[in-house]
Symmetry: C2
Subunit: 160 residues, 2 copies
Protein backbone atom coordinates (compact mmCIF):
# COMPACT_ATOMS: atom_id res chain seq x y z
CA UNK A 1 0.00 0.00 0.00
CA UNK A 2 2.27 2.60 -1.28
CA UNK A 3 0.83 6.01 -0.85
CA UNK A 4 -0.33 7.31 -4.11
CA UNK A 5 2.79 8.44 -5.88
CA UNK A 6 3.30 5.65 -8.27
CA UNK A 7 1.60 6.10 -11.55
CA UNK A 8 -1.32 3.94 -10.68
CA UNK A 9 -2.93 1.71 -13.17
CA UNK A 10 -6.23 3.43 -13.41
CA UNK A 11 -9.12 1.09 -13.52
CA UNK A 12 -10.67 2.14 -16.81
CA UNK A 13 -14.20 1.42 -15.71
CA UNK A 14 -13.77 3.58 -12.66
CA UNK A 15 -12.38 6.40 -14.69
CA UNK A 16 -15.23 6.16 -17.14
CA UNK A 17 -17.73 6.14 -14.31
CA UNK A 18 -16.26 9.17 -12.61
CA UNK A 19 -16.19 11.11 -15.80
CA UNK A 20 -19.71 10.10 -16.66
CA UNK A 21 -20.80 11.49 -13.32
CA UNK A 22 -18.97 14.74 -13.74
CA UNK A 23 -19.91 15.23 -17.35
CA UNK A 24 -23.51 14.78 -16.45
CA UNK A 25 -23.26 17.11 -13.47
CA UNK A 26 -21.56 19.90 -15.34
CA UNK A 27 -23.70 19.80 -18.47
CA UNK A 28 -26.85 19.53 -16.40
CA UNK A 29 -25.88 22.52 -14.34
CA UNK A 30 -25.40 24.61 -17.42
CA UNK A 31 -28.40 23.57 -19.42
CA UNK A 32 -30.69 23.52 -16.45
CA UNK A 33 -29.91 27.09 -15.49
CA UNK A 34 -30.77 28.29 -18.94
CA UNK A 35 -33.99 26.37 -19.23
CA UNK A 36 -35.06 27.46 -15.80
CA UNK A 37 -34.28 31.08 -16.38
CA UNK A 38 -35.82 31.42 -19.79
CA UNK A 39 -38.84 29.18 -19.49
CA UNK A 40 -39.25 28.19 -15.88
CA UNK A 41 -38.81 24.53 -16.68
CA UNK A 42 -36.51 21.99 -15.13
CA UNK A 43 -34.77 19.56 -17.39
CA UNK A 44 -37.14 16.81 -16.38
CA UNK A 45 -40.09 19.08 -17.00
CA UNK A 46 -38.82 19.60 -20.50
CA UNK A 47 -38.06 15.95 -21.07
CA UNK A 48 -41.50 14.98 -19.86
CA UNK A 49 -43.20 17.40 -22.22
CA UNK A 50 -41.01 16.16 -25.04
CA UNK A 51 -41.70 12.52 -24.41
CA UNK A 52 -45.41 13.17 -24.19
CA UNK A 53 -45.37 15.18 -27.40
CA UNK A 54 -44.04 12.18 -29.25
CA UNK A 55 -46.41 9.69 -27.71
CA UNK A 56 -49.53 8.48 -29.37
CA UNK A 57 -52.36 10.90 -28.66
CA UNK A 58 -49.81 12.88 -26.73
CA UNK A 59 -50.51 10.82 -23.67
CA UNK A 60 -48.66 8.17 -21.77
CA UNK A 61 -49.17 6.05 -18.72
CA UNK A 62 -47.35 7.47 -15.79
CA UNK A 63 -45.43 4.30 -15.41
CA UNK A 64 -44.15 4.58 -18.97
CA UNK A 65 -43.11 8.10 -18.36
CA UNK A 66 -41.23 6.98 -15.29
CA UNK A 67 -39.27 4.45 -17.29
CA UNK A 68 -38.50 7.01 -19.92
CA UNK A 69 -37.25 9.66 -17.57
CA UNK A 70 -35.56 7.25 -15.20
CA UNK A 71 -37.59 8.45 -12.30
CA UNK A 72 -39.38 6.49 -9.63
CA UNK A 73 -43.17 6.50 -9.64
CA UNK A 74 -43.22 8.96 -6.81
CA UNK A 75 -40.92 11.26 -8.70
CA UNK A 76 -43.35 11.18 -11.59
CA UNK A 77 -46.30 12.01 -9.40
CA UNK A 78 -44.53 15.07 -8.14
CA UNK A 79 -43.20 16.12 -11.49
CA UNK A 80 -46.62 15.90 -13.07
CA UNK A 81 -48.19 17.74 -10.17
CA UNK A 82 -46.16 20.76 -11.13
CA UNK A 83 -46.94 20.44 -14.80
CA UNK A 84 -50.63 20.00 -14.09
CA UNK A 85 -50.71 23.06 -11.89
CA UNK A 86 -49.12 24.96 -14.73
CA UNK A 87 -51.73 23.62 -17.12
CA UNK A 88 -49.19 21.97 -19.35
CA UNK A 89 -50.35 18.44 -18.71
CA UNK A 90 -53.67 16.98 -17.71
CA UNK A 91 -54.65 13.62 -16.38
CA UNK A 92 -56.92 11.16 -18.09
CA UNK A 93 -58.09 7.88 -16.75
CA UNK A 94 -57.97 4.60 -18.55
CA UNK A 95 -61.27 2.98 -19.37
CA UNK A 96 -60.04 -0.58 -19.24
CA UNK A 97 -57.76 -0.39 -16.24
CA UNK A 98 -58.76 1.82 -13.38
CA UNK A 99 -55.36 1.66 -11.81
CA UNK A 100 -53.64 3.65 -14.45
CA UNK A 101 -53.99 7.29 -15.15
CA UNK A 102 -52.54 8.86 -18.23
CA UNK A 103 -50.61 12.04 -18.44
CA UNK A 104 -51.71 14.00 -21.47
CA UNK A 105 -50.01 16.97 -22.98
CA UNK A 106 -52.34 19.95 -23.25
CA UNK A 107 -52.25 22.44 -26.08
CA UNK A 108 -50.65 24.89 -23.72
CA UNK A 109 -48.06 22.27 -22.91
CA UNK A 110 -47.26 21.75 -26.54
CA UNK A 111 -46.91 25.48 -27.04
CA UNK A 112 -44.64 25.72 -24.06
CA UNK A 113 -42.52 22.91 -25.40
CA UNK A 114 -42.23 24.51 -28.79
CA UNK A 115 -41.33 27.82 -27.24
CA UNK A 116 -38.59 26.28 -25.15
CA UNK A 117 -37.31 23.83 -27.68
CA UNK A 118 -35.51 26.14 -30.06
CA UNK A 119 -33.23 27.69 -27.53
CA UNK A 120 -32.72 24.54 -25.57
CA UNK A 121 -31.70 22.44 -28.54
CA UNK A 122 -29.39 25.20 -29.68
CA UNK A 123 -27.74 25.28 -26.27
CA UNK A 124 -27.23 21.56 -26.27
CA UNK A 125 -25.73 21.65 -29.71
CA UNK A 126 -23.41 24.48 -28.98
CA UNK A 127 -22.27 22.93 -25.71
CA UNK A 128 -21.53 19.59 -27.29
CA UNK A 129 -20.10 20.82 -30.53
CA UNK A 130 -17.85 23.18 -28.71
CA UNK A 131 -16.06 20.33 -27.01
CA UNK A 132 -16.62 17.26 -29.11
CA UNK A 133 -16.09 16.27 -32.69
CA UNK A 134 -19.10 15.00 -34.57
CA UNK A 135 -18.05 11.41 -34.43
CA UNK A 136 -17.41 11.70 -30.73
CA UNK A 137 -20.96 12.86 -30.21
CA UNK A 138 -22.21 9.92 -32.17
CA UNK A 139 -19.94 7.60 -30.21
CA UNK A 140 -21.26 8.82 -26.88
CA UNK A 141 -24.83 8.26 -27.95
CA UNK A 142 -24.14 4.87 -29.40
CA UNK A 143 -22.11 3.52 -26.51
CA UNK A 144 -24.29 4.85 -23.72
CA UNK A 145 -27.33 3.51 -25.53
CA UNK A 146 -26.17 0.03 -24.64
CA UNK A 147 -27.03 0.55 -21.03
CA UNK A 148 -30.42 -0.97 -20.29
CA UNK A 149 -33.26 1.49 -20.64
CA UNK A 150 -31.15 4.30 -21.96
CA UNK A 151 -32.02 3.99 -25.62
CA UNK A 152 -35.62 3.20 -24.97
CA UNK A 153 -37.90 5.95 -26.09
CA UNK A 154 -35.59 6.75 -28.81
CA UNK A 155 -34.90 10.32 -28.86
CA UNK A 156 -35.94 12.47 -31.64
CA UNK A 157 -35.35 16.07 -30.94
CA UNK A 158 -38.04 18.40 -32.06
CA UNK A 159 -41.51 18.56 -30.72
CA UNK A 160 -43.26 19.18 -34.05
Amino acid sequence: MTQVLTEQVVEPAVQAWTRLLRASASTTRLLSAELQEEHGLTINDYEALLVLSRAEDRRLKRVELARNLMLTPSGITRLLQGLEDAGLVERASCATDLRVTYAKLTDAGLEKLKAASGGHVASIRSLFEEHFADEEIRAIAEILGKLPGVADGDDSCEPT
Copy 2:
Protein backbone atom coordinates in the same frame (compact mmCIF):
# COMPACT_ATOMS: atom_id res chain seq x y z
CA MET B 1 -42.89 3.60 -30.69
CA THR B 2 -43.57 4.12 -34.29
CA GLN B 3 -45.34 7.22 -34.10
CA VAL B 4 -44.97 10.57 -35.36
CA LEU B 5 -45.07 11.62 -38.77
CA THR B 6 -41.84 12.33 -40.41
CA GLU B 7 -38.95 10.11 -39.60
CA GLN B 8 -37.19 12.86 -37.88
CA VAL B 9 -33.54 13.48 -38.29
CA VAL B 10 -32.39 13.12 -34.75
CA GLU B 11 -30.07 15.85 -33.70
CA PRO B 12 -27.05 13.82 -32.65
CA ALA B 13 -26.05 16.22 -29.92
CA VAL B 14 -29.50 16.03 -28.40
CA GLN B 15 -29.49 12.29 -28.50
CA ALA B 16 -26.08 12.17 -26.89
CA TRP B 17 -27.21 14.57 -24.21
CA THR B 18 -30.35 12.63 -23.39
CA ARG B 19 -28.46 9.40 -23.15
CA LEU B 20 -25.79 10.95 -21.03
CA LEU B 21 -28.48 12.04 -18.63
CA ARG B 22 -30.13 8.67 -18.50
CA ALA B 23 -26.94 6.71 -18.30
CA SER B 24 -25.84 8.79 -15.39
CA ALA B 25 -29.19 8.49 -13.67
CA SER B 26 -29.44 4.75 -13.99
CA THR B 27 -25.88 3.93 -13.02
CA THR B 28 -25.98 6.35 -10.13
CA ARG B 29 -29.15 4.82 -8.81
CA LEU B 30 -27.62 1.38 -8.81
CA LEU B 31 -24.23 2.16 -7.41
CA SER B 32 -25.56 4.58 -4.87
CA ALA B 33 -27.95 2.07 -3.38
CA GLU B 34 -25.15 -0.40 -2.87
CA LEU B 35 -22.73 2.04 -1.34
CA GLN B 36 -25.39 3.39 0.94
CA GLU B 37 -26.53 0.02 2.10
CA GLU B 38 -23.14 -1.51 2.71
CA HIS B 39 -21.20 1.43 4.05
CA GLY B 40 -23.62 4.23 4.71
CA LEU B 41 -21.91 6.49 2.22
CA THR B 42 -23.38 8.47 -0.62
CA ILE B 43 -21.51 8.56 -3.88
CA ASN B 44 -20.28 12.03 -3.16
CA ASP B 45 -19.18 10.98 0.30
CA TYR B 46 -17.10 8.30 -1.31
CA GLU B 47 -15.74 10.56 -4.00
CA ALA B 48 -14.80 13.16 -1.43
CA LEU B 49 -12.90 10.64 0.66
CA LEU B 50 -11.20 9.36 -2.45
CA VAL B 51 -10.14 12.77 -3.68
CA LEU B 52 -8.81 13.67 -0.25
CA SER B 53 -6.90 10.42 -0.02
CA ARG B 54 -4.99 11.31 -3.12
CA ALA B 55 -4.31 14.89 -2.15
CA GLU B 56 -1.07 16.06 -0.65
CA ASP B 57 -1.15 15.53 3.11
CA ARG B 58 -4.60 14.12 2.57
CA ARG B 59 -6.07 17.57 2.78
CA LEU B 60 -7.58 19.98 0.33
CA LYS B 61 -9.13 23.40 0.36
CA ARG B 62 -12.83 23.18 0.37
CA VAL B 63 -12.98 25.17 -2.77
CA GLU B 64 -10.75 22.66 -4.54
CA LEU B 65 -12.94 19.86 -3.38
CA ALA B 66 -15.94 21.68 -4.76
CA ARG B 67 -14.36 21.92 -8.17
CA ASN B 68 -13.43 18.28 -8.08
CA LEU B 69 -16.84 17.01 -7.12
CA MET B 70 -18.74 19.53 -9.22
CA LEU B 71 -20.57 20.85 -6.21
CA THR B 72 -21.21 24.41 -5.11
CA PRO B 73 -19.43 25.69 -2.02
CA SER B 74 -22.55 25.30 0.02
CA GLY B 75 -22.89 21.74 -1.12
CA ILE B 76 -19.37 21.09 0.10
CA THR B 77 -20.07 22.62 3.48
CA ARG B 78 -22.98 20.29 3.94
CA LEU B 79 -21.23 17.25 2.60
CA LEU B 80 -18.26 17.79 4.90
CA GLN B 81 -20.52 18.42 7.85
CA GLY B 82 -21.72 14.87 7.56
CA LEU B 83 -18.24 13.46 7.13
CA GLU B 84 -16.95 15.47 10.08
CA ASP B 85 -19.76 14.27 12.29
CA ALA B 86 -18.83 10.76 11.31
CA GLY B 87 -15.20 11.45 12.14
CA LEU B 88 -13.99 10.68 8.66
CA VAL B 89 -12.78 14.17 7.88
CA GLU B 90 -11.55 17.00 10.05
CA ARG B 91 -11.03 20.66 9.38
CA ALA B 92 -7.74 22.49 9.50
CA SER B 93 -7.15 26.15 9.03
CA CYS B 94 -4.65 27.71 6.73
CA ALA B 95 -1.85 29.69 8.30
CA THR B 96 -1.36 32.06 5.41
CA ASP B 97 -4.94 32.71 4.43
CA LEU B 98 -7.52 32.90 7.12
CA ARG B 99 -10.35 32.60 4.70
CA VAL B 100 -9.68 29.05 3.74
CA THR B 101 -10.19 25.97 5.82
CA TYR B 102 -8.89 22.66 4.72
CA ALA B 103 -10.71 19.38 4.79
CA LYS B 104 -8.37 16.66 5.96
CA LEU B 105 -8.96 12.97 5.79
CA THR B 106 -8.65 11.32 9.20
CA ASP B 107 -7.22 7.87 9.76
CA ALA B 108 -10.75 6.64 10.32
CA GLY B 109 -11.71 8.21 7.03
CA LEU B 110 -8.95 6.42 5.23
CA GLU B 111 -9.98 3.14 6.80
CA LYS B 112 -13.55 3.72 5.80
CA LEU B 113 -12.50 4.46 2.28
CA LYS B 114 -10.42 1.33 2.08
CA ALA B 115 -13.25 -0.72 3.47
CA ALA B 116 -15.71 0.61 0.93
CA SER B 117 -13.40 0.71 -2.01
CA GLY B 118 -13.12 -2.96 -2.81
CA GLY B 119 -16.79 -3.62 -3.23
CA HIS B 120 -17.51 -0.32 -4.85
CA VAL B 121 -14.85 -0.65 -7.51
CA ALA B 122 -15.96 -4.19 -8.17
CA SER B 123 -19.54 -3.02 -8.65
CA ILE B 124 -18.49 -0.34 -11.06
CA ARG B 125 -16.41 -2.77 -13.05
CA SER B 126 -19.09 -5.35 -13.24
CA LEU B 127 -21.73 -2.84 -14.21
CA PHE B 128 -19.62 -1.37 -16.97
CA GLU B 129 -18.08 -4.55 -18.23
CA GLU B 130 -21.43 -6.19 -18.37
CA HIS B 131 -22.65 -3.72 -20.96
CA PHE B 132 -19.60 -2.27 -22.63
CA ALA B 133 -16.58 -3.60 -24.42
CA ASP B 134 -13.21 -2.58 -23.09
CA GLU B 135 -12.56 -0.11 -25.82
CA GLU B 136 -15.97 1.42 -25.32
CA ILE B 137 -15.15 2.05 -21.71
CA ARG B 138 -11.95 3.71 -22.72
CA ALA B 139 -13.76 5.75 -25.33
CA ILE B 140 -16.30 7.04 -22.84
CA ALA B 141 -13.57 8.16 -20.49
CA GLU B 142 -11.54 9.76 -23.19
CA ILE B 143 -14.34 11.62 -24.88
CA LEU B 144 -16.08 12.85 -21.75
CA GLY B 145 -12.74 13.99 -20.42
CA LYS B 146 -12.76 16.73 -22.99
CA LEU B 147 -15.48 18.57 -21.17
CA PRO B 148 -13.98 21.31 -19.04
CA GLY B 149 -13.29 20.24 -15.51
CA VAL B 150 -14.16 16.62 -16.04
CA ALA B 151 -10.65 15.23 -16.35
CA ASP B 152 -9.25 17.47 -13.70
CA GLY B 153 -8.20 15.57 -10.63
CA ASP B 154 -7.37 12.72 -12.76
CA ASP B 155 -8.93 9.72 -11.40
CA SER B 156 -6.91 6.93 -10.12
CA CYS B 157 -9.01 4.31 -8.53
CA GLU B 158 -7.66 2.83 -5.37
CA PRO B 159 -7.25 4.65 -2.13
CA THR B 160 -4.18 3.10 -0.58
